[in-house]
Amino acid sequence: MSEIDVRLRDVTKRFGEFVAVDDISLEIPRGSFFAMLGPSGCGKTTTLRMIGGFEEPTAGTVLLGDQDVSDLPPYKRDVNTVFQSYALFPHLSIADNVGFGLREHGVPKAERTARVGEALELVDLTGYDTRKPRQLSGGQQQRVALARALVNRPRVLLLDEPLGALDLKLRRQMQLELKRIQQEVGITFVHVTHDQEEAMTMADQIAVMNEGRIEQLGGPTELYERPGTAFVAGFLGVSNLIAGRLDGTDVVTADGTRLAVAAGALGGRTGAVRLGIRPEKIRVADGDAPAGAALVGTVREYAYVGVATQYVVDTPAGEIQVFHQNATPGVQVAQPGTRVTLTWDPQATFLVEGETE
């Protein structure tokens, strides 16, 4: 049975009238890579700051292991943070930056030097000890910030959009690097990001947040294949959502088309729903097609992007986006105006709530 490192119980944070975090409860198991994902203003950073001790919850409790830390200042918590701005001390050398926490904990100098060396090696910055932060590139500064936090071997490491300031290529590289380091040190990582790809690449568990609440919590595959709400379906990748009413195991659209739903996706829903299908799960065939899970429509526009062709198809159930992989030689692109049939495996579908207006 895995131990729980971080527990939030009914945590709420208000800034004046504004509710930044709205009654959140979650548990983060030891050694996991946990991501909080959402648009800006969704409360993910505030949640992280409450775990770090920089914000006090308006209501609810924060526990590290079994200890209630809700009222403890940051310097008494066994967590360390990698800040979005890195917040490296400009007047200290890299070695002194990394050794800052060890010194505050009274670690003897010899051990401190050794551990700082190890930490710099872990982030591949051996030999940079005597430099000043401003002599380093953004990516190097980011790794110093990581080493400065990791060297203390905290119970939990908090990462506040640590890759946000890096360019795309460096960000990809650092994502894999962070994942490797996390597996190597085995410390629980709590990562805040608005980049769904970043969360999917690194995290074991993702909490998708919106307006101060957790919309859905799960592994990357689960969240992508079976999003539980329209927000999650739209935030993680692209989804086609087809409105209709649930009739048995079919969704019936306004024009009477019946579309089958995966049995496991029903989740006890009734009445007005939306059926979701990812663009890459849809197959395109010429002309009219057999009954079943199919929609007939007309190609409105397309974009050939080499690896795939993206179509927008007008159907009686609305506009459908299709991502057709060009896996076979001799690619034929369906021109606008062509009638096509869209089919998919009902197992690939999911259901979200009906439109609320």
Binding site: F54, P73, N80, S85, H91, E104, A149
Partner: protein
């Protein structure tokens, strides 16, 4: 304009030309006259002639050593006092002032909109024997029944401290205002409580402000003569009083000039030693 377009490299030189002209007219030329005057001999009736009278320096140094030492001592004490008073106030305004920051800063420097002389004369009244401050201090037996504040070293140092306060406060304010609050979060995250955070982050990062503030306070304080004259007695006179009276009362220009040069050299040497001790390369980046 055509010339500038054809010779873009001339632009920086043209831009610094006014500054250089200013420096030449108001610094280099007066300095030249000051140094040559300091080596002259003669008197106001027969005129002064350049006779390379190096003994002017020896005379100044031997006759007015107490005033020189007193100047350095008063200026040093006043600088340290101004630093100790200004730092907490400015820290509070810069870090905790919030929306009141600008107002508090204006309030801090507002007294200094009044002219220097009037402010110092006001201190005469405040420290006067029959004034409130002396009365209270006598009543609580901090001062003897016939004890005074006016006409003491204390009054002179207090006056200097007060008069040069903005020169200390403003550089400190700039340094503390610019300090990134996220660094304090980071140090708190790394187990430093607020005292430790201050010692390891705030104070070292504000050192350039301390350096600038102590220099802009100490240098004019060292040459000050108004405070000693208005709040002290000849027993509290500083080198500034000597130079002023040599120039304007005794009208011995060579000796007065030698005194001014000595003061300038002392300050230069002092600043150089101070900058080295604090590590000026580190401070200025």
């Amino acid at each position: 304009m055509g010339y500038l377009r054809r010779h873009p490299r001339a632009v920086p030189y043209l831009l610094i030309a006014p500054g250089l002209a200013w420096l030449a007219v108001l610094f280099v030329v007066p300095l030249y006259y000051l140094v040559t005057t300091s080596l002259q001999s003669g008197d106001i009736y027969e005129g002064f002639r350049l006779t390379w009278q190096w003994s002017n320096y020896g005379d100044m140094l031997s006759q007015y050593r107490p005033q020189l030492v007193r100047s350095a001592l008063y200026a040093a004490i006043a600088t340290v006092a101004a630093l100790l008073i200004a730092y907490p106030i400015v820290y509070f305004i810069a870090r905790r002032g919030g929306q009141w920051k600008s107002l508090l800063l204006v309030l801090l420097v507002a007294p200094f909109f009044v002219t220097y002389l009037i402010r110092t004369i006001a201190w005469q009244t405040i420290l006067a024997d029959e004034g409130l401050v002396v009365g209270v201090l006598r009543d609580v037996h901090i001062l003897a029944p016939d004890g005074r504040l006016l006409a003491t070293s204390f009054a002179v140092v207090a006056g200097i401290t007060y008069n040069y306060f903005p020169f200390m406060a403003l550089p400190l304010y700039v340094a503390l205002e610019q300090l990134d609050g996220r660094l304090l979060e980071a140090s708190s995250d790394l187990y430093a409580n607020s005292v430790r955070s201050f010692l390891r982050v705030t104070l070292p990062i504000s050192l350039p402000g301390v350096f600038a503030g102590t220099l802009t306070t100490f240098i004019p304080a060292m040459g000050d003569f108004v405070n000693a004259q208005l709040l002290g007695t000849p027993k509290q006179y500083m080198i500034g009083n000597v130079i002023q009276s040599k120039f304007l009362v005794i009208v011995d220009y060579p000796l007065a000039s030698a005194g001014a040069v000595i003061l300038m050299v002392l300050i230069l040497v002092g600043v150089a030693i101070y900058a080295r001790a604090l590590g000026a390369e580190r401070l200025t980046g």
